[in-house]
């Protein structure tokens, strides 16, 4: 173990791989000292594990309950630790399965919005001129709408459902990444190494994708992580309004909407999914803050 550690922390790496892994390891050591960030990391890790192993972890069926015997049981009932809803379904099991939906939304939005933002931003920054003006004006227009309102309008147009919610959120999510990537590109596009690559005959596409995009990655990743909490809240809000995942899917926002009708007598039905949303989005916020501290060179003292 200590051998590995020494190899990673070596001042004279003998290969590119060693240097890269060493850098990653140093970042991790730096990150590990931040208690709150580690807490956030832990929450996100638990979310991922819950989503992956849901069928083994959930004690009951998330979609079908027993209407005769298990309706609206309070929390801490034996076997139903978070209680049951009006259809006799175990809330804990629904939350565990719901983590899959939450994770899928976050992951898909990140996978769709990040490349779009990177592509638009780096292209605008690299070429400059009218390309820059057109692309950035378009970005600003999308940015001019409040996110939730634009997502609402798109879901209204496309029809309710989790897939359309993901598309709508992605459409509203990419502009900040484009701006960020453009700003980063502007600072490096006149560097010597770009000029050298150009002299070697590299195409614009190659320069952007192989040389500029990797340098924009760390700041974009930080921004995406920080945005994930907002994405979760937007998705939950759409679900709450009945425009996201449709019943009987155990989406957390929709579960709150379901529990709203009997809030006074059976408080736990709406409370538990809200706590789940809160915990996960707090986790992403803490993780994002921590990542920003270790990955953003401008913030280091």
């Amino acid at each position: 173990m200590s051998m590995t550690r020494e190899w990673l922390l070596s001042d004279q790496p003998v290969s590119r791989r060693q240097a890269r892994l060493g850098q990653a390891y140093r970042t991790w050591l730096d990150f590990r000292t931040n208690g709150l960030a580690m807490f956030g990391f832990l929450i996100v890790l638990v979310l991922v594990l819950l989503a992956v192993f849901a069928p083994w972890l959930a004690p009951h069926d998330p979609l079908v309950g027993d209407l005769n015997t298990t309706r609206l049981l309070p929390p801490l009932t034996e076997g139903y630790w978070l209680g049951t809803d009006d259809q006799g379904r175990d809330i804990l099991s629904r939350l565990i399965y719901g983590s899959r939906i939450t994770l899928a939304v976050v992951a898909l939005v990140a996978v769709i919005a990040t490349p779009v933002g990177l592509l638009v931003g780096t292209t605008a920054g690299y070429f400059g001129g009218w390309v820059d003006t057109v692309l950035m004006r378009f970005t600003d227009i999308v940015l001019a709408f409040p996110k939730l309102i634009l997502a609402l309008a798109f879901v209204a147009a496309l029809g309710p459902g989790i897939e359309n919610a993901i598309i709508a959120i992605s459409i509203t999510a990419w502009p900040p990444y484009a701006r960020l990537a453009r700003a980063e590109t502007l600072t490096i596009r006149n560097s010597d190494f770009i000029a050298a690559t150009k002299l070697q005959g590299a195409s614009s596409a190659r320069i952007i994708w192989k040389h500029i995009v990797p340098l924009c990655m760390s700041s974009v990743i930080v921004r995406v992580t920080l945005d994930m909490a907002g994405i979760i809240l937007t998705a939950a809000g759409l679900g709450f309004l009945g425009l996201g995942a449709q019943p009987p899917q155990p989406e957390w926002g929709a579960m709150i909407a379901g529990g709203r009708n009997f809030l006074v007598d059976y408080w736990w039905v709406a409370t538990m999914p809200g706590l789940a949303i809160f915990t996960v989005s707090l986790g992403f916020n803490l993780l994002g803050d921590g990542l920003r501290d270790v990955l953003d060179p401008k913030r280091q003292k």
Binding site: R137, F138, D140, I141, V142, A144, F145, P146, K147, L148, I149, L150, L152, A153, F154, V155, A156, A157, L158, G159, A229, L233, A236, G237, F240, L241, G242, L243, G253, I256, R260, L263, V264, W267, A270, T271, P273, G274, I277, F278, S281, L282, N285, L286
Partner: protein
């Protein structure tokens, strides 16, 4: 150089900034209109069917199709629609059967009142918290302010609203429930401005004022909390920036009392970017209001929008989206201009 030429140059600079901002805003508005129009065109709901019903003959269908102008090219349809929008005509709502512009004018004061009370709460608590956290950087109070802010960023507002209703209305009975005013007080005053707090106060209807207040306090506190999270974080970072400056050291050396350094000298300089932050928070409250108004049955723009959405009333949705987008852009522009006007450093540039 005389004062007059300096002032003249400052005016010229500001004017140039105004013109360029207006240019940007004009393009952005046009973009808003195009995006909204295109969203309206991809709707799977057939607008003809909602006019003639599904038992119409082909001839009736064609007539309505022609009357709605759907047989014209897209660009011409956009032009017609644009002219109508500029005359304040967003079409008629299928749900209320009234012109959408009238509907929006009717519900808007409710949202305005809620957002204004919220931003007052958010600013009144957020700025002192941020200042305090900056002064005690790294201490316990700094951590507390940070956690309070993080919770505000992370909690779903509609859920907080439900929990607040459950606790303060149903269990403790400290406040009034959903809605803007109880029905028994509704006829104690005439809604002239539509801002009920203002209306009741001006007409001296104090019991009604108290009732209105007990209705608005919870949703406004919640929205205020959301903006507080952002305002306190930004205040803290601006103040840290100011407190590290040399003029603060100078003031300390000269023996200026510490409270005066913090609350007068540093805060006055930090206030310039803070104005922008507060204006942006105000714009963001419009967004937060959509979910909050749904939870509190608050008859404002947000609830109008969600109601229209759930009833597939597309004209109303687009009208509402456009109005909110326009206000959002307007506030952004306003904060941008205000910044130029207030920041002493931008005045010295040529």
């Amino acid at each position: 150089m005389t004062t007059r030429t300096i002032r003249g140059r400052r005016g010229a600079l500001w004017l140039r900034k105004l013109v360029s901002t207006l240019g940007t805003v004009a393009v952005t508005f046009l973009g808003l209109l195009v995006v909204t129009f295109l969203i309206g065109r991809v709707v799977p709901v057939d607008p003809v069917l909602s006019v003639v019903g599904d038992r119409a003959t082909q001839a009736q269908y064609d007539a309505a199709y022609h009357a709605l102008g759907l047989d014209k090219p897209l660009i011409e349809q956009f032009w017609i629609w644009l002219q109508k929008v500029f005359q304040g005509d967003f079409g008629t709502s299928n749900l209320t059967t009234r012109p959408i512009s009238q509907d929006i004018a009717r519900v808007f004061p409710a949202t305005l009142e809620l957002a204004t009370v919220s931003i007052v709460i958010g600013t009144a608590f957020g700025i002192p918290m941020g200042v305090w956290a900056a002064v005690r950087q790294g201490k316990l109070i700094d951590q507390i302010v940070r956690v309070v802010g993080l919770v505000g960023y992370s909690a779903p507002v509609f859920w907080l609203g439900l929990m607040g209703l459950l606790l303060f209305y149903f269990k403790l009975d400290l406040i009034s429930g959903p809605g803007r005013v109880d029905i028994s007080y509704e006829y104690d005053f005439t809604p002239k401005t539509g801002l009920f707090l203002l209306d009741t106060a001006m007409q001296g209807a104090w019991p009604a004022f108290r009732n209105v207040f007990s209705h608005i306090i919870l949703p406004a506190s919640l929205l205020g909390y959301l903006s507080l999270a952002y305002i306190s974080r930004m205040t803290r970072s601006f103040m840290l920036n100011e407190l590290a400056q040399e003029y603060i050291t100078t003031a300390r050396v000269k023996g200026v009392p510490e409270w005066r350094i913090i609350w007068v000298q540093a805060l006055r300089n930090a206030a310039v970017p803070l104005v922008t932050v507060v204006a942006l928070s105000y714009a963001n409250l419009l967004e937060g209001s959509v979910l909050t108004e749904t939870v509190f049955a608050w008859p404002g723009l947000g609830q109008y929008l969600t109601n229209s959405l759930q009833n597939a009333d597309m004209n109303a949705v687009l009208g509402g989206t456009l109005v909110i987008g326009a206000i959002f852009v307007g506030l952004n522009m306003f904060s941008d201009l205000l910044y130029t006007l207030l920041d002493a450093r931008t005045r010295n540039q040529k």
